[in-house]
Amino acid sequence: MSAAALATPAAINYINAEKGILSWLTTTDHKRIGILYLCSITFFFLFAATLGVLMRLELLSPGMQYMDSETYNRILTLHGMTMIFLFIIPAIPGIFGNFFLPIMIGAEDVSFPKLNLASWYFYMAGGTLALLSVMTGGPDTGWTFYVPYSFKTGANVFYPLLAAFILGWSSILTGLNFLTTVHRMRAKGVTWGKMPLFVWSLYATSWVQVIVTPVVGILLLLVLAERVLGVGIFDPSKGGDPILYQHLFWIYSHPAVYIMVLPAMGVVSEIIPTFARRTIFGYKFIAVSSIAIAAIGSLVWAHHMFTSGMADEARIIFSFLTFFVAVPSAVKIFNWLATLYGGSIALEPPMVLTLAFILIFSVGGLTGLILGALSTNIHLHDTAFVVGHFHYTMFGSGGIMFLAASHYWFPKMFGRMYNRNVAYVSILLFVIGFNVTYMPLMFAGVAGMPRRYADYLPEFETYHAISTTGSWILYAGILLMVGNLGYSVFKGKKTDKENPWGGKTLEWRTPTPPPTLNFDGEPDTSIGPYDYPVEVER
């Protein structure tokens, strides 16, 4: 990191305050830890995206062309594991939460800075273990580690299980840190009702992380115990119930979807007011809906199990509950649209990505209704439809908003600006590629194409061929986008504008890049996060 090159001569900021790689690896500055997360998460994102492209390549036409089915299963598992545990879950909280949550509430740092650094080291340990598992062949269970397969397979699932366990702790510690920070570190004037919505969404996310992550932590250890010691808790031949595993797994993993989605929604609630120059519509309702999503989201896990052999009565109960989780998400979408009303909209790259998010996430959410309905779920469960659906919801929220947030906060974080024209081209490629990749999968699913298939019957070839073509466009878009940002970190046009977009949250009222203690002097909390003047002249 060429820290020195970034500095504007006079100002001392978090980047040039200390020099040398060691000063980064031992830092307790939340902004520097955010940058550490940015580097590592981007690496794992590109790694997993590449695996995804390889999978799609194999699926271009029926028959096995480039790999055998075992290799395919391993790539599939690593793609899912890496994307979920190493990319989407930590991406926005780890990078932008770390960097901006303390600034947005007018604090100097998080409550436990050393713990914060420890979280990153946990993250790296987990990531390293996941990479090590690649060298030993890799796991082949799918990211869900369903028993009995996960304790029967000959593949190496020891490392990945341990990796997921460690990553769970990284996630818990980050959540714990944020919760304490929000409770204890808010500057005078930043009341609960004046907290930026990004902070609200991270607050709700942190609760979910703290409450449900331990479930999957212990569960994965139990699978390890089952493998190594033969305990019998999940082994049907010794009295275990494989469906119980699925319950416990989804008790975590369904709320985990909200761990991925909620921070993304928080970013949306920041970007839209900034580029519409308008106060957010329905602040309270958006804040409350974050908490509602977190709460209702933990009641609906078994809708992943409608064909698992679970009792019919339970399927009915969970289907009924499932529909309610759609309501707070819908409320958010409507409020965002209402925020556009009467605004003065500038279509800067982050805003374009956010508008794309609204449509793409709507597709994801609405197809969720189709999957929530019992009779259609039975047909569509475990088909390519589900693959399409969750890419629209997860990649379409956490992924897109990770990219949007990168474009939004980039000038503040690095004191440089990226090339906007390249950004527009990459966004166009991304959005086209995204839909061309995942939309055909939904149609394939309706036609009966099961998921996690290394090979398929010729009748599904058209869908797969289109989808694979889309994956190339999508991949090109991602590479161009990440390349543009990566290049601009070092060579982008320098800027020390405090507030390039005209935002109202606190991070736009501190120097660019921010100083080590976030503010020169006391943060000015007299203006609320969305207090735009009544009539703004251009």
């Binding site: 409770h183 609760w207 409450i211 119980l244 319950h247 896990w301 078994a302 969970f318």
Partner: protein, 109 residues
């Protein structure tokens, strides 16, 4: 920079929180109660309680937990936030177990 962690504010909170603190005698009394409940819960297993055995044991255990949490862990003497935290965790656990049994109680009669 003024944050809620301002020393003056803190002192204030700390002062309030430590205004009441269990005395050594109270600690011993609570311990006595815990010992009594433990002896009780073991003793009743020698009676033929049928289906109530588990319920009784759980009621006694919950009472003991309440004592430990309220006095040894000072929940009784501290701001409400800690009890709220505990409530969130326990109610989540309650939801998990109830909804898991929505399946289990129908599948295994």
């Amino acid at each position: 920079m003024s944050t809620t962690s301002d020393p003056h504010v803190l002192e204030h909170i700390e002062h309030n929180e430590h205004a009441e603190h269990p005395s050594t005698q109270l600690y011993f009394k609570i311990w006595g109660a815990l010992v009594f409940l433990t002896v009780l819960t073991v003793s009743v297993t020698y009676l033929d309680m049928k289906k109530f055995a588990l319920v009784t044991a759980m009621i006694i255990a919950t009472t003991k937990c309440g004592l430990v949490a309220s006095y040894f862990m000072h929940l009784r003497y501290q701001a409400r936030i800690y009890s709220v935290l505990l409530f969130v965790a326990l109610s989540s656990f309650g939801v998990f177990i109830i909804l898991t049994f929505a399946d289990m109680s129908y599948r295994f009669h």
